[in-house]
Amino acid sequence: MPKVGLYRANSVIYFQGDLGDKIFVLQRGRVSLNYSDIETGKDIREVIQTGEFFGVKSALGRYPREENAVVLEDASVLVFTVPEYEEFAAKNIRIILKMLKVFSNQLRRVHRQVENLMENSQSVNPETGLFKTGEYYLRNRMYSQAKYVMGRYLTYYPAGRMAEQAGRYLEAAETALMRYGDGKGPAPLAGSPIRKNSQKSETQEDEAPAKAPSVPASAQKPTRDDGDYAKDYYNAVSLFSQGKFQEALKGFKAIIEANADPEYSSKSLFDLGRCLFALSQWDLSIQHFTRIIQTTPKHPDIADMLYIMGQAWEKKGDAEKAKGFFKKVLTMTGDDDSSARIKAKKALNAMGGA
């Protein structure tokens, strides 16, 4: 049976941070829940109504109290243990339903707050996320899972950006599932066998995750023409833009090693350094760019290389070296509005000027 508790004005029923297993109902008097807002730090007071429950969430969820329960006027409260509360609620299911509504509203609110803060950093758009999930399963020969996800993609986004591709992947998954079974058969996405099991159209960038990695460049050489290197290069660029730096790096490396097309080899050389930087390999990226600058001082992307080297030094905590590189970017002749110049200027300002 719940007990009655009597509290004097200005006393505290529980403190923030207390571990408590009691749930309260205000019968008489005035009680306020005081806490500070997570986002603004502002003090908030929530006055409890007579007949209202408080302390429910922390007791049920077994986590510390999130507020101070302060008595404003002499109060009498009913004190439940968790089992007593559950027994009581089980007989008054309306109370649970009401609580569920309150909780789900709170959950919705805090969920939205979190989402808002996440947006700036890395939240993935659901359409892309769903597609990539399916792609992951297909790449790993989990055909029935790939089939499910691609099917869902087409249900929700029939005219979506990746709908055509999803259709092809769905077909590929179905075919592979029938022909080989889950987990078996040639790699449907990774590596060269890709063309064997589906009638792919010629020039889709969708083969991106596939070919760059793992296929030794030499194996491809004899039958390739220039267009293939352009395609490989943009595949790798697309991987980079998706944040798949490791795979992009392999792609650029393959193009450089093939060394068959000077234009794309040179571009790839620069982009390989960008990958190293994106992978937080500060030293390797600095070494890589230094080598390019020494061997190809007229490389069209020198300004960008210097800028990235500056960033790498900054990441390494050497502000002086970083500034040196940013200043070097500014002394380069050429386009005044080049993005490297603008970025270097900004970086210097952020570091407290030149």
């Binding site: 969820g61 569920l100 890395q122």
Partner: protein
């Protein structure tokens, strides 16, 4: 659970390996496991990570009550799985006859609200280093009980760089950078699957000093 017989029209069966719902899919139903195990996974980078393995009588997919929110993880049947599937429209019918399920859902929501609030506290910190430090504190709070033997102020936390990036709402490269910095200062030791924090109180003070008062 015999009283659930009346709900057979909500019953669904999934074969082993079958996806119940996929990460990022819009969701409007939640599930009550009656038989079999369900694996909850998430694809992080190029790895499918197991988040949880659930069995009867657990509930999953309950976040579907958040209108329009895409699923945050994938649920896959590990065995032949029998579930009851409910949505916002019909869940009151279930609850009315089954206070125990309603209570279980209530406890689950209480926990979710706390988890999300704690997460929000991390994200509201402006200093990225403080964010990472607060991720340590949060993981320690949630893992504390099972973290086993702790030596003085030294704490071992089960987490990868990806986990830290996820909780701190930053890119893996950023998280790696900050972890590297802490490691250079000899405040943490980094391993593939865990992080050893040398002095947890040091990080508590640091985070508190960066929180808005």
């Amino acid at each position: 659970m015999s009283d659930l017989a009346a709900f057979s029209r909500f019953a669904r069966t999934f074969q082993s390996g079958e996806i119940i719902f996929s990460e990022y899919e819009p969701g409007d139903s939640f599930y009550l496991i009656q038989a079999g195990r369900v694996r909850i996974t998430k694809i992080v980078g190029e790895i499918e990570k197991n988040i949880d393995i659930l069995q009867p009588p657990e509930i999953f997919g309950e976040m579907a009550i958040l209108e329009g929110a895409p699923r945050s993880a994938t649920a896959i049947a590990m065995d032949t799985v029998k579930v009851l599937e409910f949505n916002r429209a019909n869940f009151e019918i279930l609850m009315m006859g089954n206070p125990q399920i309603a209570l279980r859902l209530l406890r689950l929501f209480a926990k979710r609200i706390y988890d999300q609030k704690r997460r929000f506290m991390i994200l509201t910190l402006e200093d990225p280093q403080a964010k990472v430090a607060d991720v340590f504190l949060m993981l320690f709070e949630t893992q504390g009980a099972q973290a086993g033997e702790q030596d003085g102020d030294r704490r071992e936390i089960k987490a990868t760089v990806d986990d830290v990036a996820h909780w701190a709402g930053m890119t893996v490269a950023e998280a790696q950078n900050i972890l590297g910095h802490f490691s250079n200062q000899r405040r943490v030791e980094l391993y593939q699957d865990r992080i050893v924090v040398k002095n947890i109180n040091d990080f508590t003070r640091f985070v508190n000093s960066r929180r808005k008062k």
